[in-house]
Symmetry: C2
Amino acid sequence: EGPSVRAVTHSADEVKLVIKGVPDTPGVAARVFRNLASGAVNVDMIIQSLKRGNVNDIAFTVSHEDLANALEICNRLCQELGAEQVVVDDNVAKVSVVGAGIWQDTSVAADVFEALAEQGINIDMINTSGTRISCLIDRSKVETAVRALHARFGLANGK
Amino acid sequence: EGPSVRAVTHSADEVKLVIKGVPDTPGVAARVFRNLASGAVNVDMIIQSLKRGNVNDIAFTVSHEDLANALEICNRLCQELGAEQVVVDDNVAKVSVVGAGIWQDTSVAADVFEALAEQGINIDMINTSGTRISCLIDRSKVETAVRALHARFGLANGK
Ligand SMILES: C[C@@H](O)[C@H](N)C(=O)O
Ligand SMILES: C[C@@H](O)[C@H](N)C(=O)O
């Protein structure tokens, strides 16, 4: 039985935060998320990709409710860690395609990215697990994206 | 009911591939993964974080079996897209902590990262979803990591 896309979900209550240029040494991610946990910040996605030299960027998303708290903590950590800067992006929304066995077939990911590209939507961040492909896109495009993904996977555009 | 960590999983059959410096324009991710899908490459994690100027890095992991295929496709795409280079890292392993409701509590992520940091393990990449926190680490550290995560979450170190 192949992969089956079950649903498309989306959330506009996402603000992207990135602490750019943190030291790429053991304990840094632990310190960042322990501070956020102690500050009662609820984190949604966490994304860390390829390092650059001996630094890396730690990106994550939070709700609008937690943004002020998160920003204060990140700015303090940025100084303590000697990181480059904190980037905040409040123009993003998350769209996700969910289903069992998605990981089994790379063409599901290709379908998701093509459905967005055909609408001229730029993909800002990508994060996948075995049953979910999530993309951060421009918030103004989320309705278009959800409709395009529903159409691509033959799902009723549940209102 | 709070989050509950159910299991620790790991896989050493992961090779990290990154196409560095692809144009950050609609359609690029679609083209990369359509090519990989057509080339019968089975992709595990896909990670894309903050762009740099108007380029970005697209990172993903494949099994050893698919590496040669994936590399050939990436090298061709790198040229066609005018990207910077293709990075291959065959020293990585993935460790994941899985459980319902993990997303509800940032301290689970902090616990995962601290358990690795206490063993002196550097976290190479991070990718999370609502029920899973995955880290790419040095393959030589995977046994230590799995034991440390089992201990941290009070799970029997199932052989
Ligand atoms: C950058 C950060 O993730 C670091 N590599 C760590 O292990 O904490
Ligand atoms: C970099 C790549 O993801 C590009 N932003 C796209 O939408 O395809």
